[in-house]
Every structure is written in structure tokens, then in C-alpha cells.
């Protein structure tokens, strides 16, 4: 590989991490809203959340990305930086998966907890905030790490709109002299692998730890 290309790819790895962690946070905010709506007893909320989740999960990320990339400037009536377009589409895409994770977390808390909390005089919001969410959090965390891994992998598709993250950086190195192919690609793959593998191992470890704590407490 040419001089300096390695550091260029390392920098691009950092861009990928920033991109996917920001979209993870936004995806979880979306997921929290739609997950609670999905688990709620009000029909309208449930169906709105269901439509969002089903539609987003049924469309390839490539198409979501390109649609948002061209739709956002029209909606905002001004130029939108690539970074914001990419983060928006990754967040929208991840939000659907986060919503399912949050819903599973809420539904893992038994009805008895709800009834007990309600009968002590807490209102629905307080039950959600002080009783259900702290417990559901433990159930939500391990799959959230999985979602993060997925978002890191999916952020490679930002290449198609020309945003320079790890994958695109690899393309740039490949398309410049001395036009090596295998080396840059391997470094890109290795960077993704190190990131995702360590994260998914961490997620598995966390899952074991958290389920141990739960088993002891009940």
C-alpha cells in the first residue's frame, strides 16, 4: 500500500465509528418512541408504529439511503451536508430495529409488575419511567450492542452517496496509484472485523453478566 494510506484508512475508521454511534443514539431515541407506541394499548399508536417498523424493515437500506439523500434537501429547501443525510437514513433504518428491541424489553416485564405499581398509585407514565424501563433496560442492552454492530456494517453503504467513511476510503486508495486492490480491501475488512468482532464478543459477555444478575434477583 502507498505511503500514508494506512493512516488514511485509520482516520476513515474513526469516521465510521462516529457515523454509526451517532446513528445508534438517534435510532434508539426513535426506537424508544416507536417501541413504547408499539407496546401501548391504544390502537392508533400501535398501528402507526407497526407501519413504520414493517415499511422500514421491508426496504433495502440502499433504497432508504438514496431516497433520504435526495428527499431531505427538498423537504428542508436547502443543501444538506452528506453527513446529516447519511446519519438520518441510518437512524431511520436502525430505529425500526431498535423499536422491536424496546418492545421486547417492555413486554419481558410481567403484567404483575404493572398491576402492583398501578395499585400503589403511580400513573402510567410513572410506572413506565420508574418500574418498567429500569428493568427493561437490562433486557434491551445486549441486542442494542448487536444493533450497533449492524449499523457499523450498514454504514459501509454510505459509499453510494459518496460520503467518505471506511469503505469509501478503501475505494479511494484502490483507485489511486499504484492501484493495489487486495491490500486496501484486506485492511478495510480487517478494520471492520476488529470493530464488530470485539463489540459482538462484548455484547455476548454482557448478556451473560446481565442474565446472571436477573436470575439471582428473582
Amino acid at each position: 500500500m502507498p505511503e500514508g494510506a494506512f493512516f488514511f484508512l485509520l482516520e476513515a475508521t474513526w469516521v465510521t465509528v462516529k457515523l454509526s454511534s451517532l446513528s445508534l443514539v438517534l435510532a434508539f431515541l426513535l426506537g424508544l418512541v416507536f417501541g413504547i407506541m408499539r407496546a401501548s394499548r391504544i390502537h392508533v399508536f400501535r398501528y402507526v408504529a407497526l407501519v413504520y417498523i414493517e415499511v422500514v424493515r421491508g426496504i433495502p437500506l440502499l433504497v432508504v439511503l438514496l431516497t433520504i439523500f435526495f428527499l431531505l434537501p427538498i423537504l428542508m429547501n436547502q443543501q444538506v451536508p452528506d453527513f446529516i443525510a447519511v446519519v438520518t437514513s441510518l437512524a431511520l433504518y436502525g430505529g425500526a430495529f431498535a423499536a422491536e428491541i424496546v418492545r421486547a424489553g417492555i413486554e419481558s416485564i410481567g403484567r404483575g409488575q404493572w398491576e402492583a405499581a398501578r395499585s400503589t398509585g403511580l400513573n402510567t407514565w410513572q410506572v413506565m419511567r420508574f418500574i418498567v424501563m429500569p428493568q427493561a433496560f437490562l433486557v434491551i442492552i445486549p441486542p442494542a450492542v448487536g444493533l450497533f454492530v449492524g449499523l457499523i456494517k450498514d454504514s459501509s453503504l454510505a459509499t453510494v452517496v459518496g460520503y467518505v467513511e471506511l469503505m469509501k476510503a478503501g475505494d479511494i486508495v484502490r483507485n489511486n496509484p499504484p492501484f493495489y486492490t487486495f491490500g486496501p480491501l484486506s485492511v478495510v475488512a480487517l478494520n471492520y472485523f476488529v470493530l464488530c468482532f470485539s463489540l459482538s464478543r462484548f455484547g455476548r459477555w454482557l448478556e451473560g453478566r446481565l442474565s446472571q444478575g436477573r436470575a439471582r434477583s428473582t
Binding site: V55, G58, I59, P60, L61, L62, V63, V64, L66, T67, F70, L71, I74, L75, N77, V149, I152, K153, D154, S156, L157, T159, V160, M167, G170, R174, Y180, T181, F182, L185, V188, A189, Y192, F193, C196, F197, S200
Partner: protein
């Protein structure tokens, strides 16, 4: 927002652009999923093996697939392998380069990709059949073949079927990435039409709707199959 929508671009060009694309998407998905299923079953038993020489390569493969983006895998097949030359000068031939056509490389990469995920699904399915059930069947005098046929297969199939359908749909969505190496599938055809007409938004929204309809019909198809063919394996449906 002052944008004039021209959605007629999508359906006027449906038969010329999108229909062949849909056929290509199906072709890509079905061929790579069926090959991936074979690969996945083999690898799953590799991961269940107690021999290190079998376990480690299978695990390495699965971890590589699950922890790198599909795009990287596709580029490895399409661009990466053609970087190697096999020198045949001593035989008087020009050097041989491994190269795959766009369709071939997409099938290889998709097979490789979904094989890894299917391996995990199958492994979980086989492991979920509890040891006690198998021992009970053996002690009631069933032969190993009978145990496999009547005890393990129905239970594993019940567990494995829904995630496998899910994986098929994911493979179909993933096949849209193959447009980046110019396989003329659905999203590539959309991009082609975009270059001709510049109705970008209408075309991408139309693509989204088409993918949704494709997915829902595939999901519905497999739900019907499950009702009709595998009814006795799914006792909760009776």
C-alpha cells in the same frame, strides 16, 4: 416544498425497466439462498463438531461473515480475486487471471454471506432439540435414522423455519447491494432509469414500494407453504 411529482415515470417504464429487474432479483436471491442453505448446513455441523480441525475453520468463516459488511465481501469477490495472476509463462501461456462476471460474483458473495447466517440458524435449531428427548427416543427402541427422521427433524424444522424465511427476505434486500457491481437487478434498473429521466425521487420511492410488495408476497408465500405442507410439524396451528 415546491417539487412537481411525476410518478407516471415509474409505471410507464415498469415493463421495460423494473420487470426484468425483479426477475433478476429473484434469480439472484433464489440461487444464492439455495446454495447458501447447503453451505450453511455443512458449516453448522462443522461448528457442532468436537474436532478442532473442523470446528475452528467453520467458526472462523461464520465470524468473518457476521462481522464484516456484505459490501466488503462482494468487493473481495469482484475486485479482489482478479488482482491475483497465475503465472503460466513457463508453459507458453499468457498469465491467467481469476475473474468473475458481475452476476457470478454477486451469487458467490451472497451465498458466502447468507451461508454464514444460515449456519448459525441451523446450529441453534439442532442444539435446541433437547438431549433428554433424543435419549428417550433411543431407549424406546428407535434406530438412529428413526430418531433423526421422527424426533430431531420435526422439532428442528419447527424452530428453524421462521428464521430461515426471515433470512431469505434479508438476502433479497441484501441483493440490492449487487447493483454496485452492475448486476442488472431491481435497484440497478431503477438507477438506469434515473440516468435517463432524472426523476430520482419518484424512482427511488417506487423502488421502495416494489421491494415492500416483493417482501410481503414472499413472506405470505412461505406462510401458506407452512400451513399446507408442514402442518403436522407445527402443533400450535391445529
Amino acid at each position: 416544498m415546491n417539487y412537481v411529482w411525476h410518478f407516471e415515470v415509474v409505471w410507464r417504464n415498469f415493463s421495460e425497466y423494473f420487470y426484468p429487474g425483479i426477475l433478476m432479483t429473484f434469480k439472484l436471491t433464489l440461487s444464492s439462498f439455495s446454495l447458501g442453505l447447503l453451505l450453511g448446513i455443512v458449516v453448522a455441523f462443522g461448528r457442532l463438531s468436537r474436532r478442532k480441525l473442523i470446528y475452528w475453520p467453520a467458526s472462523g468463516y461464520v465470524e468473518f461473515v457476521r462481522n464484516t459488511p456484505f459490501l466488503v465481501q462482494l468487493y473481495f469477490v469482484y475486485f479482489g480475486f482478479s488482482a491475483f495472476e497465475i503465472d503460466l509463462a513457463f508453459l507458453g501461456f499468457s498469465p491467467y487471471r481469476i475473474s468473475f462476471s458481475p452476476f457470478e460474483s454477486a451469487v458467490i458473495a451472497l451465498t458466502f454471506n447468507c451461508g454464514g447466517y444460515i449456519a448459525e440458524i441451523v446450529r441453534a435449531g439442532v442444539q435446541a432439540v433437547s438431549h433428554g428427548v433424543i435419549e428417550a427416543a433411543q431407549s424406546s427402541g428407535m434406530s438412529p435414522l428413526q430418531v433423526a427422521r421422527f424426533i430431531i427433524l420435526p422439532q428442528a424444522l419447527t424452530i428453524v423455519y421462521p428464521p430461515l424465511v426471515n433470512q431469505l427476505i434479508l438476502t433479497m434486500l441484501g441483493s440490492s447491494v449487487a447493483s454496485l457491481v452492475t448486476v442488472p437487478e431491481l435497484s440497478f434498473q431503477g438507477e438506469l432509469l434515473n440516468y435517463m429521466t432524472f426523476r430520482t425521487l419518484e424512482i427511488y420511492i417506487g423502488l421502495g414500494v416494489m421491494y415492500l410488495i416483493l417482501n410481503w408476497s414472499v413472506a405470505l408465500f412461505f406462510r401458506v407453504i407452512r400451513q399446507v405442507c408442514f402442518r403436522r410439524y407445527f402443533p400450535e396451528m391445529h
